[in-house]
């Protein structure tokens, strides 16, 4: 077995030193009635070649680009990733390291994460970002818990836009269930943005949370929400599923957000059936000690040389245990590093161009569908996603398109029962005009 280097001779020599007669003897401290006597019922071990064949067969059962044309976003976006990024990430000094507890031999990870924190803060217009959370959804749950923590648990009401990704709201509810904190969902206005009017009624409001671009692909009125929150002595929490939008649109920080979080998968990370992605998390400086997750800070070594360390660990569970700011230990470090490689490759100039291109593609598709007679229900400006109302019974057309290897968005009725036959579509820089024209042709034919 190529992953088990001990030869029979090695084992014999070591057993002798240990004073055990055989391998079973090593487990003498486990009471008999705790021992499993059988054999694990698992498939017999595969060679590298059999495994490769098996997995290739399974991979072939998936509908992916370029064979399929998939017009789905909804929290997971297909963007081009330069070959240099996976190459760099494959360098196993990055991937096979543990959390950088020993900074002297972890400066690679640490500097990369410091750069990640910096670029994240710049992208979101915030003062400080952490080293990552699990994903956008759990980041939002943690952001709202943080808001309540900032208010020392005295204010526990949360206003949550219904235009936040339904899965994210579901995760928030799961995290909140044992806490007893109150969540009020804010409805949707006809233009596709959140109706903030109910906010004033909420008792003990700790935070207002919006997503922008929201689940319908529309840009939210973050400034208005932030102003409202601040007027009520609450915090403005903004989340996102598509950070590339901030290459073109105003970032949340410039519009008064106090905590910003979301999913960073768009920034150079493969979709991988939804994970691993990247929970991005940033806030104003004054809240840093309430922030969950790890932080990397700059410092110097004994010779005065610049170096980086994990810092503010006094917020963390191995020191504060049950009083920790959260229970996060492993995060998505390698994904954060990957997004840093991507952000550095694209650069400021490139980010603006690429964001522009995403919007232009989606606007093209939107206008072609409109021309073809379909209704675009929400008119707020958007980035690379939008909702279309297709004719009744579109489901069979949708299935027909699947047969032609086109996935025409996802139906959103399951999450918004009033929106029957409404679909959420996405177009990015990876969708050519020809692809989009084919889609429009097929849905109309």
């Amino acid at each position: 077995m190529r992953y088990l280097p001990h030869t029979n001779e090695d084992v014999a020599e070591m057993l002798q030193v240990v004073g055990a007669a055989n391998l079973d003897d090593l487990f003498s401290s486990i009471p008999e009635n705790c021992r499993f006597k059988g054999e694990l019922n698992l498939p017999s071990d595969m060679t590298e070649w059999a495994l490769t064949d098996h997995m290739a067969t399974l991979a072939d059962r998936m509908a992916c680009s370029p064979e399929y044309r998939v017009f789905v976003g909804a929290g997971s976006y297909r963007h081009y990733i330069p070959a240099s990024v996976p190459y760099l990430l494959s360098r196993s000094e990055f991937s096979t390291a543990y959390t950088p507890y020993q900074p002297e031999i972890s400066q690679g990870t640490l500097q990369a994460i410091f750069e990640y924190q910096t670029l994240t803060a710049r992208l979101l217009g915030m003062e400080v970002a952490n080293a990552s959370m699990y994903d956008g959804a759990s980041a939002l749950a943690e952001a709202l818990l943080m808001a309540i923590r900032i208010e020392r648990g005295k204010k526990t009401g949360i206003a949550l836009s219904t235009l936040i990704h339904p899965h994210y709201r579901q995760v928030v509810r799961t995290y909140f269930e044992p806490t007893g904190y109150k969540i009020v969902e804010l409805p949707c206005l006809p233009d596709g943005s959140t109706d903030l009017s109910a906010v004033d009624e909420i008792e003990n409001l700790a935070a207002i949370a919006l997503q922008s671009p929201n689940f319908f692909g529309c840009i939210e009125k973050i400034k208005a929400a932030s102003d409202k929150a601040h007027a009520l002595n609450a915090l403005s929490v903004v989340c996102f599923t598509e950070p590339m939008a901030y290459g073109l649109f105003k970032n949340p920080g410039s519009q008064g957000a106090d905590i910003v979080c979301g999913e960073g998968q768009s920034l150079g990370i493969p979709q991988s059936f939804g994970g691993p992605g990247l929970g991005m998390f940033a806030s104003l400086n004054k809240y840093v000690r309430n922030m969950p997750g790890r932080l990397v800070g700059k410092t110097t070594d004994r010779d005065g040389k610049r170096g980086f360390v994990l810092t503010l660990a006094t917020r963390e569970q191995h020191i504060r245990r049950e009083r920790a700011t959260s229970n996060i230990c492993s995060n998505q470090g390698l994904c954060a590093t990957m997004s840093t490689m991507y952000m550095a490759s694209v650069g400021g100039t490139g980010m603006r161009e690429l964001a522009r291109l995403n919007r232009d593609k989606a606007e093209y598709l939107k206008s072609e569908l409109k021309k073809a007679g379909f209704r675009i229900p929400f008119e707020r400006p958007g980035f690379n996603e939008f909702v279309v109302e297709f004719p009744k019974g579109f489901e069979s057309t949708y299935q027909k398109l699947v047969g032609k290897k086109i996935v025409a968005g996802i139906p959103i009725e399951c999450h918004y029962p009033e929106l029957t036959d409404h679909y959420l579509l996405c177009a990015t820089e990876t969708h050519s005009k020809a692809d989009m024209d084919t889609l429009v042709k097929e849905v109309t034919s």
């Binding site: 088990l4 280097p5 009635n33 705790c34 021992r35 054999e39 694990l40 019922n41 071990d45 490769t52 997995m55 399974l58 059962r61 509908a63 992916c64 998939v70 190459y87 760099l88 360098r91 196993s92 000094e93 096979t96 390291a97 020993q102 002297e104 031999i105 972890s106 690679g108 990369a112 924190q117 670029l119 710049r122 400080v128 699990y134 994903d135 990704h165 899965h167 579901q170 509810r173 044992p178 073109l248 105003k250 991988s272 939804g274 994970g275 691993p276 992605g277 410092t299 170096g307 360390v309 996060i328 492993s330 995060n331 470090g333 550095a344 490759s345 490139g350 232009d360 996935v407 005009k433």
Partner: protein, 473 residues
Amino acid sequence: MNEPLLWEKSRQGRCGISIPESDVETTPLDAEFAGEGPDFPDLSEVDVVRHFTRLSQWNFGVDTGMYPLGSCTMKYNPKIHEKIAALPGFAGAHPMLPPDLAQGTLRIMYELERFLCEITGMDATTLQPAAGAHGELTAMLLFYAYHKSKGEKRTRILIPDTAHGTNPASAALCGYAPVPVTSGDDGVLSVEAVEALMDEETAGIMVTNPNTLGLFEQNIRKVAEVVHRKGGLVYGDGANMNAVMGIVKMGEIGIDAIHLNLHKTFSTPHGGGGPGAGPVCVRKHLEPFLPVPRVTKNGDAYALQYNRPDSIGKIHAFHGNFGILIRAYSYILSMGRHLKTASQHAVLSANYIKERLKDVLHLPYDRPCMHECVFTDKNQEDFKITTLDMAKRLMDYGFHPPTIYFPLVVHGAIMIEPTETEPKENLDQFIETFKIIIKEAVETPELLREAPTAPKVRRLDEATAARKPCLCG
């Protein structure tokens, strides 16, 4: 050689990625919405490649050398898994594809759940948790939901002093007040200690087994009985599962729920702090509460089931860290029944190190250990040499240090976990090196106090870093 920070290398107008030419018209955007774009540095491809190539070389990974970081199971991560995870069918899969278009990934999830059930002796598994602590939280939410379904709201949870640090934090997130249980002089839980604390206000107990002293909790069955008798549940922290695959089935010895760290026991790369994966395996009575969706199988077809009224909901936007699940699934298929051999060899190696170092390093619990052994710096106290000094000195010899100052119950702990993938010669070299360092502690202690000198930087000023945090460049 130093390497500047990214923005110190920028020159406006450079770009390290191909931006496709637009084949559509541009649509104007109101000034009300338009931002300025992020203040990112502009670099060419060669800049980016060199930057991260250099950074990588400052890092120590399993591929660099022996990494006996206790409790972290730093075993070798097979290269073929990286290739498999990158297959376009997996890496390019959208998580909300209709199930017909995602049969490959669903099958992997379905089968991996079954494999993990078999290994732990449990009945059902959720793969959603993205890390070990996330699994702990999930399990606590399951406990909460279970008690609630019985019309109860319990407020406390027992946590032994040999538990992982995340346990109390995870319990606290569910509103449970952690109640510490002191382990016995033999390093394991006594039934009496649990009995004294367990009551009907207590949701259950969180037991790390083998515990963080590297010892098997021998009284686990009786402890579980005590907890169950009071209506509580037993949670197993499976971070140390690498010791007992095929040797103990947790579901058969009283554990109700257990999380596994795929990035430890199942050989997925740790990634310098993640992504990991922390699936939770449960017994039948907790299954109704598992997160949605559940993967189901009907004939040869896999589907996703959302409609489960008792479910705690979701704890991840999609299906968890699927890319990590693929690697663990591949590992299990590659190992098959050799998983048991892996555990046997891991335990053999830990005991070998324990035996060969215990005459020079103080061993607080001189008993057969599992996959790791815990020493202290007591013998070095007279020379004013600490665990930290010895750990840093190991770096100069090309080793990653063990886990230090953990578990907290052992003063100056040195927690060594070699794993089964470390060849014997390396164990021997590590042992010899440690002996040299212990000799240096007496003869040339300044070498230890000044250590490390070989890496890129020397000891770092962590105090200033925390006092005046600079978190952003």
